[in-house]
Amino acid sequence: MTSAAKAPPDAQRDATLFQTLIAAAVDGIMVIDRNGIVQVYNAACERLFQYAAGEVVGQNVKMLMPAPYREEHDTYLDRYQRTGQARIIGIGRAVEGRRKDGTSFPMYLSVGSGEIGGERVFVGIIHDLTQLTAERQARGEQQAYLASIVESSNDAIMSKTLEGTVTSWNGAAEAMFGYEAADMIGQPISVLFPPDRLGEEEAIVAALRRGEKVVHFETLRRHKDGTDIDVSLTISPLHDAAGNIIGASKTARDITERKAADARLRTLQNELTHVARLNEMGQFSAALAHELNQPLAAITNYLNVAKRLFGAPESLEKARDAVAKAAQQALRAGQIIRRMRDFVEKRDTKRTVEDINKIAEDAIALGLIGAHVANIKLTTAFAKRPPPVEVDRVQIQQVMVNLLRNASEAMASSPRRELTVTTAAVDGEAVEVTIADTGPGIPDHVAKRLFEPFVTTKSGGMGIGLAISQNIVEAHGGRLVMTPNEGGGTVFRFRLPAGPATE
């Protein structure tokens, strides 16, 4: 301390400060003269380049540079001194350094120039970029990886701004819609919309602005060639670093095939349902023929009576009466055929607003043909003004006909043959139909598999009636259930949700 006290206080302090600064700096600090000869080379430089200061000071700085920087350096210094044109001085840039062992490393070099004793010198600050570069490279690989996932996806993946301008477009999108990425990026996404679907974009954007996702939205989009494609869209908002919604990512799946498969399945189900109805009718064709032949026989008789009586003027009145009665019977036959025709007709599913009591009446008229001959006593208890239901009338009729036929057949050899059909409103939200018989009931082992297809206890039956009935009721949002009747026999019950009001 005594020697320090002797030195001029300011100069000594400056020198100490300079030394400390140079030695403690984490970044490398170098000073070279106008010819490139190293004047100052700090401890950080020693760590970075692996050369000791003694090996570098007094040497040309080029030794610390790998090709091609090494070769360029003289030219560069030369040009700067002649023209003042700087490519690095006062700016800095990322370059490579060369270690003593010959390996290179990335570094950021900033160079400033100054003068010492009238001589121009350059000060270089060297920041090691090894770790940063490694991280950046890893990030780049990750991005490339993600990009390749996006690119190889079978789903079309696109992104767009909130204004609807396309910002990315993967290979599947090219294949699905026929537009190349180059065609689409920067273009409005609305070119994919069939004209009648343009309104959808507004609702989608509104959802995105609220930060919501649109999931599995099934709609149509238009291919470049003008054909429409069934697609399922999932659209999610994209955020910037500050969390602002700046656009959306959109994945589209081509569901044309699935839609076609669905349609085929629906057609098959429809056909099976139809076959079940035909089968149902087949089961009571004898009763039906009898029912239809009654009015036909009566018509024949009445007309034969009339034919005889028209001959005698005094019996014209009687003849006219017979003809009038024949006409009534023809109407009766027509009504039977009408009910039957509706029932057996091959048709597509069609939901209409219906009165459950009317459906029940028709089902009873059809399902209980010939039942009076079997001495079955029918009791009906219909709800007064039940809420309307939106159903496929013929299918619900089919369910009831099936249940009524099953019930009457079950009771064929029972001492008590009472059939009760009830309709009831349930809290104004649903209607419930109940069909109760006094037959022998259903044994437990059959009850377990009751609604499975091809399970039957009837010799002439296909065993599809109840399975189809359950299917129909479920498609209407209900469920068909069987419970034992308290006094013996079976109760079937199903509910249908109340549909829109008729007014």
Binding site: H290, N293, L296, A297, A298, T300, V305, Q328, N375
Partner: protein, 202 residues
């Protein structure tokens, strides 16, 4: 028609009852209709000599059950079975039980009326048989015990000598009884006598 022939109709269908009776009446028959087998059985009709048209499918007793019951009662009615849906087992059953005919609704007027007229022929034949049997029975009641013994042995195919031996009388006496029997029974010859007696016995 010397006397009115009566046709009974049993069918649960009002229109069938009404139209069928109208047609039968227009064709010159007397007709009466019943809505069930039990309603029909409750009256005098089952004992009448006439024709019954009955539907197979009815609540309560069906047509075939009614037919069977009438046979059991020894009813003289000729039965026509009718149905809206004919199947062979039912037809066979009806014909075996003695139905005159089996008709499917609707049927032609001519077919119906032919069946009805055939039914009345059968009724007439049956009643002629009944009348003849009644007559034979009445004549047989005029025979003495000895004459009745001789008749039974004649019908059994015995010769006069055998009859004389069995009854322990002279062949001459047998001959006298035999001619008295032929006379009382009104038989022209032996074959006639045998046929008469057989109608009563069977």
């Amino acid at each position: 028609m010397t006397q009115e022939q009566k046709v009974f109709v049993v069918d649960d269908d009002l229109a069938i009852r009404d139209s069928l009776t109208a047609l039968l009446q227009a064709s010159g028959y007397a007709a009466a209709a019943y809505e069930s087998a039990d309603a029909f059985l409750a009256g005098e009709a089952p004992r009448a000599a006439g024709c019954l048209i009955v539907d197979v499918r009815m609540p309560g007793k069906n047509g075939l059950e009614l037919q069977k019951e009438l046979v059991g009662l020894g009813s003289p009615l000729a039965v026509i079975v009718m149905t809206g849906h004919a199947d062979i087992p039912i037809a066979v059953q009806a014909m075996k039980a003695g139905a005159v005919d089996f008709l499917e609704k609707p049927c032609e007027e001519s077919a119906l009326l032919e069946s009805v007229s055939r039914a009345f022929e059968r009724v007439a034949t049956a009643s002629r048989h009944i009348d003849a049997a009644h007559a034979v029975t009445a004549r047989m009641q005029t025979l003495t015990d000895r004459e009745r013994q001789v008749l039974d042995l004649i019908v059994a195919g015995r010769a006069n000598k055998v009859i004389a031996y069995e009854l322990d009388i002279s062949p001459r006496t047998v001959e006298i009884h035999r001619s008295r029997v032929m006379e009382k029974m009104g038989a022209r010859n032996l074959a006639d006598l045998v046929r008469m007696v057989l109608t009563v016995v069977t």
